[in-house]
């Protein structure tokens, strides 16, 4: 059965069921935000990198993140986030074409099986051209209300791969279960691809440029199990040139 004590997790670690994932100097160049006209109603930033949980070793049922340490060049006061990510779909601007992805997962929460809404971003996966036009996104909100449509979002000129913006939602929405469609209007020979992500952080916190920061994830109440193929994204909430290095420690838990 899964470890139910700190000592149990420690015993697994000492037995060799551990994984130390370094993200050494993951780096992004400065670039435009995905939603160029965004001001106070979106967050903009850059992805540092992605970690995909590999095929589990024999005797391991899931990996449990226990702690992380990091140092970043983007400065104190700028948010650093590590989050589980699930693709909700992609928008290719040229046609435009929306290709549907997954939706928010169903998890056991408080002994109840329920859909877990998430924080949603759009991320550039193929660089945008100089005049990409505008986008509107249709989403399902946290309460399963469908056909919620965002305002027209001005796409960032030449936004580079890895830049992201949070999806501005209609009030009183705070979360997203799914993206059902997205489209692009206007622009001049628009090109590029935007991928929409459901995010569920394991950590959101500050950065430091001159000292190391650390997070005791278990102490923060983050008790999460990740299986093969689960993806963790590393994000900095700044569109300036930025880099980060550090590591996340996992314990390989048993079934």
């Amino acid at each position: 059965m899964p470890s139910t004590t700190f000592d149990g997790l420690l015993a697994r670690k000492l037995a060799g069921y551990e994984r130390n994932v370094s993200f050494m100097r993951a780096y992004q160049s400065a670039g435009a935000a995905v939603w160029a006209a965004s001001s106070t109603d979106t967050f903009n930033g850059m992805r540092f990198g992605t970690y995909t949980v590999p095929t589990l070793e024999a005797g391991v049922d899931a990996y449990v993140p226990t702690m992380m340490e990091w140092n970043a060049s983007i400065g104190p006061g700028i948010t650093f986030m590590v989050a589980e990510q699930i693709s909700l779909g992609t928008l290719s601007l040229a046609t435009p074409t929306f290709t549907d992805g997954s939706s928010a997962p169903t998890r056991t929460v408080g002994n109840t099986s329920t859909v877990v809404p998430g924080f949603c971003i759009g991320e550039v996966t193929t660089a945008l051209n100089a005049t990409p036009g505008n986008a509107t996104v249709t989403y399902v909100d946290q309460d399963n209300n469908t056909a919620e449509t965002t305002r027209s979002l001005t796409l960032g000129a030449s936004a580079p791969v890895g830049s992201f913006s949070s999806l501005p939602l209609n009030s009183p929405d705070w979360g997203v279960r799914d993206i059902t469609t997205a489209t692009r209007t206007g622009g001049t020979s628009p090109s590029g691809v935007i991928q929409f992500w459901w995010l569920n952080p394991i950590y959101v916190g500050p950065n430091a440029t001159i000292s190391l920061l650390s997070a005791d994830l278990l102490g923060l109440g983050t008790v999460r199990r990740f299986g093969t193929g689960a993806q963790l994204g590393l994000f900095g909430f700044s569109t300036s040139t930025q880099g980060v290095y550090g590591h996340i420690d996992f314990v390989g838990d048993s079934a």
């Binding site: 470890s3 139910t4 004590t5 700190f6 000592d7 149990g8 997790l9 106070t40 109603d41 979106t42 967050f43 930033g45 400065g75 104190p76 006061g77 700028i78 948010t79 986030m81 989050a83 998890r107 056991t108 929460v109 408080g110 002994n111 109840t112 329920t114 877990v116 809404p117 998430g118 924080f119 949603c120 946290q142 949070s166 999806l167 501005p168 939602l169 009030s171 009183p172 929405d173 705070w174 979360g175 995010l199 569920n200 952080p201 394991i202 950590y203 959101v204 916190g205 500050p206 950065n207 997070a215 005791d216 278990l218 102490g219 923060l220 109440g221 983050t222 008790v223 999460r224 909430f237």
Partner: protein
């Protein structure tokens, strides 16, 4: 006996067996114009209009313990507070009409008896955009000892915007540090809008630093456990302070551990 979360082991056991509540989302407070206070003592705040309803767990889980909370806020110096709100009173500017709200609630804490909470963080919240030129609002309240007929005055900026709020704890009468109920509100001038007195019961405080700030919910290991647990159906509201108040957005992330 089950695990009422007395240790890190209880936390891990409950989370592994029943599933913890890891949630994140987006909130946005739109203000037409930046707000500043016009009288010393009041601190400008945002109240984000989006709220989070705590999901109801299934037995044997009876509630949730807040373990950590983090918010990133665009363009803000200050603090961020997720909290339980109590509407203590509402003033409708037109007609200078007051409607009574609730008194601060009583809550049981682990190992202790039920006690009425104090609102040490007490706000004037603009819930309907105002048409009023530097109005002075007078609030009659009961203090932390339930002594009534206490009085405080706060001057708001001209035409205060919906979603803006003003902390006025420093305007309480000498010797008072909290509010338990409000018996009257009145305004010196104005023709439109509504203002509420909200008593906040903070779950945690976070610190802001810079543009696109990170507010670090501190870990259980270095911060006192929040005063009480949460039950399914309770509503969490999100607040942030700032020197001047213009539109703000925030993303939040919280970890709640199941209690049995």
């Amino acid at each position: 006996m089950a695990n009422p979360l007395r240790s890190t082991d209880d936390l891990i056991a409950n989370a592994m067996q029943y599933g913890s509540l890891s949630s994140s989302g987006y909130v946005y407070a739109s203000l037409g114009t930046a707000q500043t206070t016009t009288a010393g003592g009041a601190v400008t705040w945002h109240r984000f209009p989006q709220t989070y309803t705590v999901p109801t767990p299934t037995s044997p889980v009876t509630g949730w313990q807040v373990m950590s909370f983090n918010m990133a806020v665009t363009g803000s110096f200050g603090i961020t507070v997720p909290c339980i709100e109590t509407v203590l009173g509402t003033l409708t500017v037109s007609g200078n009409s007051f409607a009574a709200g609730s008194s601060m609630p009583s809550r049981a804490q682990y190992g202790g008896s039920s006690q009425q909470l104090n609102a040490g963080l007490v706000m004037l919240h603009v819930s309907g955009s105002m048409t009023a030129t530097t109005p002075t609002i007078t609030v009659t309240y009961a203090n932390q000892d339930n002594t009534g007929s206490r009085s405080a005055t706060v001057t708001l900026p001209t035409n205060a915007q919906v979603n803006s709020a003003y902390g006025w704890a420093s305007r309480l009468q000498s010797g008072d540090h909290a509010v338990r109920s409000v018996s009257n509100m009145s305004i010196s001038a104005g023709t439109a809008g509504t203002v509420r007195v909200l008593g906040l019961t903070p779950l945690m405080y976070g610190m802001g630093a810079n543009t696109t700030t990170s507010l670090d919910g501190l870990p259980l290991s270095v911060k006192a456990i929040p005063a009480f647990s949460l039950a399914g159906g309770e509503t969490i509201a999100f607040w942030t302070s700032s020197a001047t108040t213009s539109s703000r957005s925030s993303m939040w992330h919280m970890e709640l551990a199941p209690i049995t």
